[in-house]
Symmetry: C2
Subunit: 134 residues, 2 copies
Amino acid sequence: MNIGDVAARSGVPPKTIRYYEDIGLVRPERSANGYRAFRETDVHKLTFLGRARALGFSIENCRALLALWEDDRRASAEVKRIASIHLEEIDRKIAELGEMRETLADLVDACAGDLRPDCPIIHSLTSGSAPRDA
Amino acid sequence: MNIGDVAARSGVPPKTIRYYEDIGLVRPERSANGYRAFRETDVHKLTFLGRARALGFSIENCRALLALWEDDRRASAEVKRIASIHLEEIDRKIAELGEMRETLADLVDACAGDLRPDCPIIHSLTSGSAPRDA
DNA sequence: CCTTGACCTTCCACCTGCTGGAACCCCTAC
DNA sequence: GTAGGGGTTCCAGCAGGTGGAAGGTCAAGG
C-alpha cells in the first residue's frame, strides 16, 4: 500500500506519516521503486495515532500508548495512568483559558467600542486593574 | 536601566525582552558599553506586553494593541474588535478542550486500571468507539 | 592591581508538531 | 512521448520563546 492510500484510510496526511516515520512511530517497508510499502497494521497504527492526537496526547505519550497497544501483556493501569495525567493537564488548560476568558469578556463588555480613544481594555493592560467597578 | 531591572519590574524575562527587541516590539537605546538602556516607557510597554500575552493575545495582536496603546487618537472600537476576535478564539479552544475532556474522562472512568491488559482506552483508540454502553 | 562574581552581549540550537515547497523519480494512460 | 498524478528527498518556516556557549563589563574585596 502506498502512502496516499494509507493517508486516505487512516486520516493522517502523507506529510505527517512521513514525519511519524522520521521520529520512529511507524516503520513501513520499502518497495523496489523506493516507495514506502505499508501493511494493514501500519494503517491501524496510524489510525490509532490520529485518534490519540485528536485527544490531545503528545507525541511522546502517543509513543508510549502505541507501545502499550502493541503489548498483549500490558497492564491497563499504565494506560490509565497516562490518560489520567493527560486529563489533568487538559483540566489545567481549560481552567487557564477559562480565567482568560472571564477577564477578557469583562473587558470587552466594558469597552464602548466607538470612535473615542478611552478604552477599558487598554487601560487594564496598562494598569493591571480589571474593570470590576466603574 | 539595564535589562535585569526591567525584567524584574515588568515581569518579562531578559531572554524574552531581547526576543521582543528582535522582533521589533521594543526599541531600547544603547549605553556606551553596549548594554541596552531602557526608559520608563519601555518598562510600561513590557508590562503591557506581559499582561496582553497573559491574556493569550498573539504576538501580532500584541503588536497591534501596542500601536493602539501608543495612539492617543485610537478608536476603542478597534481595540474591542481585536479583543472580541481573540475572545471567540478562546471560546473555540475551550470548546475543543471540553470535548477532549469529556471523551477522555469517560475512557479513564471506564478503565479498570489494574494488571489486566483489557483496556477501554486502548480499545477506543483502536476502534474509534466511545465506551458509552457496556 | 588583580580577581571574583554578577551582570551584560551575541549567536546558535532546540523545543512541538507539523506544513509548504523545490527538485526530482516513477508509473500509467493516451 | 508526454501529460498527469503519484511518489521521493531535503530544507525552511510557523509560534514564542528557552538554554547554553563564548566572551565583554563593572563594582567590591583582598
